[in-house]
Symmetry: C2
Subunit: 92 residues, 2 copies
Amino acid sequence: MGDLYHALSDQTRRLILDELTTQDGQSLFELCSRLAMRHGITSSRQAISQHLGVLEDAGLVSSERVGRTRIHHLHTAPLREIIERWPAPGKD
Amino acid sequence: MGDLYHALSDQTRRLILDELTTQDGQSLFELCSRLAMRHGITSSRQAISQHLGVLEDAGLVSSERVGRTRIHHLHTAPLREIIERWPAPGKD
DNA sequence: TTGACATGCAAGTGACTACTTGCCTATTCT
DNA sequence: AGAATAGGCAAGTAGTCACTTGCATGTCAA
């Protein structure tokens, strides 16, 4: 599995996660359109596709092929690792 | 303020946070020694110092000059942003 | 004050990475 | 079948980043 922290280190990837938080189950083209309209992302379709690959390697996104489209789902569970690794002090 | 996610994207920086979690309030030399012994980090003192600068810019570490040493403290509060930005589903 | 200790600053370098470009595969509709 | 749609693969490029090297600053003890 890829590096969770590396996956989060890119702003475009974080905006992709934002978009999937707003509406889960989007295709590559939908994500490209909405990132362009709502966040001014001018990256190409291939760039977004590569970002989705990084997010999927990190376990933050899963995808399933549906006909000629690929639907992407958000998974926030891996983020728990961050909080558990450096727990907040003063609560024990 | 610097980028929280960029600060977390480097493994050496994450190990520094681990070390400060184990024992808060270490100096640069203490961190270098313990990183080398416990994690096999071979980076130079200057490399660790630069990492501490990035962590401090991100608000994850604060430091105070004490005599001829600088003491570093861990702050986990900024990590809450991550969980709040992409909340876990199915709990509302 | 002088030497030793702990850290700070800044330029240079090699590796990594996000992005583009070009072409290819798979699926749907007429 | 043939055209259009949605996506996949791979090489090349420019910019970023972690790291080192060399020198400078500040602090403490004798």
